[in-house]
């Protein structure tokens, strides 16, 4: 089975509003896919449909080899789901919750599997109410994978965690895939998280997927690299010298500072300094910045805002 998730035209409308307006997506086995979008874009609704918690009002999907509409029970057996707001009872201990979960999934030897998971996720068997936010989140994920699902859905896994807990959690998520081959489908609105974790990113806005690709691909296509240079001479001459170069997309001038959007390439700085030399302009400083996914995201939403205004 190559495709773990395959959705066509998946849609959900609540009375009066279309929360999700026809999502097509394909996730291959062993991928970590990020579902990125602003609040209210339809991330959680899509996730809740794919995990059988919400019945779609349109479209079809196959998840872990089972049809979402015809066989939700089959889907449930093969997936793990970690909800946004936590999933544990503070008056239970970690082991109590894990053992119950393992038994409900009919995991053989539920207790030893649960103990293994506690060790894997660096957890002690304590009252959940006394755990830190990061520990609770790791327990949520351990509960989601107790039955070794083919795919695990994580809804905003690191929201509200401190930086150390976040990077620890990322490590655990990577290990799920690297050591167990688990496919991971996660939603986030943190671009750095998508960048650090995901093989592929789907960007959703207003209930539709607006773009997709690897983090590097999206950055190269949508944002480009930025070179900032401050010059000693005439900015007009510098601009004329640089604007027509093959790899330069856009030049903006503020005082003596030029901000260039360029296509990514290792030789770009050499090309630029040579062109400035040839025009007799002396650069005082020159700085090359790689784009972040924030730039991609802003570029996408700006483009859409412009399209709406037109």
């Amino acid at each position: 089975m190559d495709h773990v998730i395959e959705a066509r035209g998946l849609a959900k409308s609540f009375t009066g509003t279309d929360a999700v307006r026809g999502v097509d997506l394909t996730v291959r086995a062993g991928e970590i896919v990020g579902f990125l979008g602003p609040n209210g874009a339809g991330k959680t609704t899509t996730l809740r449909m794919l995990t059988t918690l919400l019945r779609p009002t349109g479209g079809t999907a196959t998840v872990a080899g089972h049809d979402l509409i015809a066989d939700p029970a089959g889907v449930r057996r093969r997936i793990g789901y970690v909800a946004q707001g936590g999933s544990t009872n503070p008056s239970c201990t970690a082991l109590q919750e894990l053992v119950l979960q393992a038994r409900l999934y009919r995991v053989p030897d539920a207790r030893s599997r649960s103990l293994d998971l506690l060790a894997d996720f660096d957890l002690a068997d304590r009252a959940i109410g006394a755990m830190s936010g990061g520990q609770k989140r790791r327990l949520d994920i351990a509960l989601g994978v107790v039955h070794r699902p083919a795919v695990v859905f994580l809804d905003e896994p690191t929201t509200g965690l401190d930086p150390q807990s976040r990077s620890a959690l990322w490590e655990h998520i990577r290990r799920l895939r690297d050591q167990h081959g688990t496919t991971v489908f996660l939603t986030t609105h943190y671009l750095d998280e998508a960048d650090a974790l995901c093989d592929r990113i789907l960007i959703i806005d207003q209930g539709r997927i607006v773009d997709e690709g690897s983090p590097d691909d999206l950055k190269a296509r949508l944002a480009g690299d930025v070179v900032t240079t401050e010059i000693a001479g005439d900015p007009g001459r510098a601009r004329a010298a640089l604007a027509d170069l093959a790899h330069v997309r856009e030049v903006r001038v503020t005082g003596r500072t030029l901000r260039l959007t360029v296509e990514p390439g290792d030789r770009i700085l050499i090309e630029l300094t040579r062109a400035l030399d040839a025009a007799g302009v002396e650069p005082l400083s020159i700085q090359h910045t790689r784009p972040t996914l924030d730039d991609v995201f802003l570029a996408l939403t700006e483009r859409k805002a412009a399209a709406r205004a037109a």
């Binding site: 995990t51 059988t52 918690l53 919400l54 019945r55 029970a73 449930r76 057996r77 997936i79 789901y81 909800a83 707001g85 936590g86 999933s87 544990t88 009872n89 503070p90 008056s91 239970c92 109590q96 119950l100 979960q101 038994r103 409900l104 999934y105 009919r106 509960l143």
Partner: protein
């Protein structure tokens, strides 16, 4: 599914017994009722008062203990526990029935304590009557717990669960004739009382404890309680299995 019911039952029971302080206070209130109100009732009803009052306190216990069971699920829903369980292969009906079974077993335990306290005051009951009485509490408690869960899950503003539930429980308690027999009530009140299932429960309990095993009162009580349980479990099942939450 039986195995899932058993798993949920065991888990919930362990949690309930772990919160033993709640259990102590749950049973303390009916026992205090027995201690502080029972003797007073004796001066009006004479020496039969315990035979009338102990069944009433058991119905009070059922309404308060099983009738407010939904309170627990309000928290489970808020903490995301319920949603986690709803994505497991366990049937949603099993998630409900496991909990209802826990509430029923806990109630039976509490009922035994209340009866023991009653016996200390002079209440007397034949063994067969005691067993029939406890059996009668089973459908009442199961039905009340199922209704309470359904109500808690349907309620949009869950902070209203406690006030709204007590607004239901207290009139049900008064109308059942648990505190004073409804035979003394004016006609209209008696008629309203007959429209509630707990009236029949109280009277059947009194009949069972008095050893009137072949009475129509007992038969009516068993019938009404069973019908109530079936209807309430149907409502609870519908609410629990609905996919949209």
């Amino acid at each position: 599914m039986p195995r899932d019911i058993w798993l949920i039952f065991r888990h919930q029971l362990r949690l309930t017994l772990g919160g033993w302080l709640g259990l102590v206070f749950g049973v303390l209130q009916p026992v205090l009722n027995l201690v502080l109100f029972g003797p007073l009732l004796g001066t009006y009803l004479g020496h039969d008062s315990w035979q009338i009052f102990v069944p009433g306190v058991l119905i009070q216990l059922s309404l308060l203990s099983a009738g407010l069971a939904g309170f627990g699920i309000v928290f489970d829903a808020r903490f995301g526990v319920l949603e986690r369980l709803r994505v497991t292969p366990a049937s949603r009906l099993a998630l409900l029935l496991g909990r209802v079974l826990t509430n029923t077993v806990v109630l039976l335990g509490q009922a035994v304590i209340v009866i023991a306290a009653g016996v200390a005051f002079g209440f007397r009951v034949p063994v067969a009557g005691l067993l029939i009485g406890l059996a009668l509490l089973v459908p009442l408690a199961a039905g009340l717990a199922a209704l309470s869960y359904a109500f808690a899950l349907t309620l949009k503003r869950q902070e209203l669960f406690a006030p709204l539930s007590s607004t239901f429980v207290v009139p049900m308690l008064l109308l059942s004739g648990a505190m004073l027999p409804m035979s003394a009530a004016p006609g209209w009140l008696d008629a309203v009382s007959r429209a509630t299932p707990f009236r029949y429960g109280v009277e059947a309990l009194r009949a069972a404890f008095a050893g009137h095993y072949a009475s129509t009162t007992l038969a009516a009580g068993l019938g009404v309680s069973a019908a109530f349980a079936v209807a309430a479990l149907a409502v609870g099942t519908r609410t629990f299995t609905r996919q949209h939450s």
